[in-house]
């Protein structure tokens, strides 16, 4: 796989991706409104010596895309040094093969930073590990507090419809409550990723 200027420019800008969404646009835009930009991250990206080219792999059905792409979208709009182009995962298998999660999973979003000569500086996949860990812990706490939900490892189809609906509501509430942390962690990880690979 290669990325060069010609291919890069075939990717969708953030607003074009939103316009082309066949679903979840309202959720994505709601998440966009809820992003609080981190001052240190904004300062860092604004101070880059040269703008960066940012390749994103995404699909509009993916929950992690709906949650995390708006963070990048807002950040790019604010700092002016990130030229973001979005490619559909399922139409760009060569790109996906390059950035497989743990070498085997087609996790998205992928956010890859390139310098002006299209040398990769680093890439970021899916969501911060700290967010997965926090939500796994909160999930265990929910199950511990509600014995009627059964085991956290048991298939949910065995739950009665009303119990399953309550579990879903609890999980949704937990995700809402951890969103601010998640958005901050995405910004921190993107900043640290680029900071670790100084622009050449």
């Amino acid at each position: 796989m290669s990325m060069d200027r010609a291919r890069f420019e075939t990717g969708l800008r953030y607003d074009a991706f939103k316009a082309a969404m066949t679903r979840n646009r309202e959720r994505l835009e709601e998440n966009e409104r809820r992003v609080t930009l981190d001052a240190e991250t904004v300062r860092f990206f604004r101070s880059l010596a040269r703008p960066l080219n940012v390749v994103v792999l995404a699909e509009d059905w993916c929950g992690d895309v709906i949650a995390n792409l708006p963070v990048l979208g807002r950040l790019a709009k604010e700092v002016g040094t990130l030229d973001v182009r979005i490619f559909y995962r399922d139409q760009n298998e060569d790109l996906m093969e390059r950035w497989l999660n743990q070498g085997k999973y087609k996790s998205i979003p992928v956010i890859a930073f390139f310098d002006d000569r299209f040398r990769e500086l680093g890439h970021w996949i899916e969501r911060p590990a700290s967010v997965s860990e926090l939500r796994a812990r909160k999930r265990r706490e929910i199950f511990a507090a509600h014995p009627e939900f059964g085991s956290p490892d048991a298939p949910v189809d065995q739950l009665a419809d009303d119990v399953r609906a309550r579990l879903q509501a609890e999980l949704q509430k937990m995700r809402e409550e951890t969103t601010a942390f998640a958005n901050a962690e995405v910004q921190r990880e993107l900043r640290e990723l680029v900071a670790a690979q100084p622009v050449r």
Binding site: W61, C62, G63, P155, V156, D157, R164, Q168
Partner: protein, 83 residues
């Protein structure tokens, strides 16, 4: 031979609807009135579980990936035969 109930729990936020519908359709065409119901349960967290009668015949978490339709069909035939 009593009708068999099938449940497919799929991750809606992962976009597993096509695989869910493909499997449901294949089972409907193959078994028709031998099934009492096919229940589709939208869920999250990368789930794709298939239960035939009371037996969990496929779990993405446990088995990885999506099930082979033939394996699910075999499980339905076994359930219909009372095996």
């Amino acid at each position: 031979m009593s009708p068999v109930k099938i449940k497919i729990t799929y991750c809606a936020e992962c976009g597993y609807e096509p695989q869910t519908l493909d499997l449901a359709k294949a089972l409907m065409y193959e078994f028709g009135g031998q099934l009492s119901s096919i229940e589709l349960i939208p869920w999250e967290g990368g789930t794709f579980d298939v239960r035939v009668a009371d037996k969990l015949v496929h779990s993405m978490t446990r088995d990885g990936g999506f099930p082979e339709p033939k394996a699910v069909a075999d499980a339905v035939r076994s359930a219909l035969a009372g095996v």
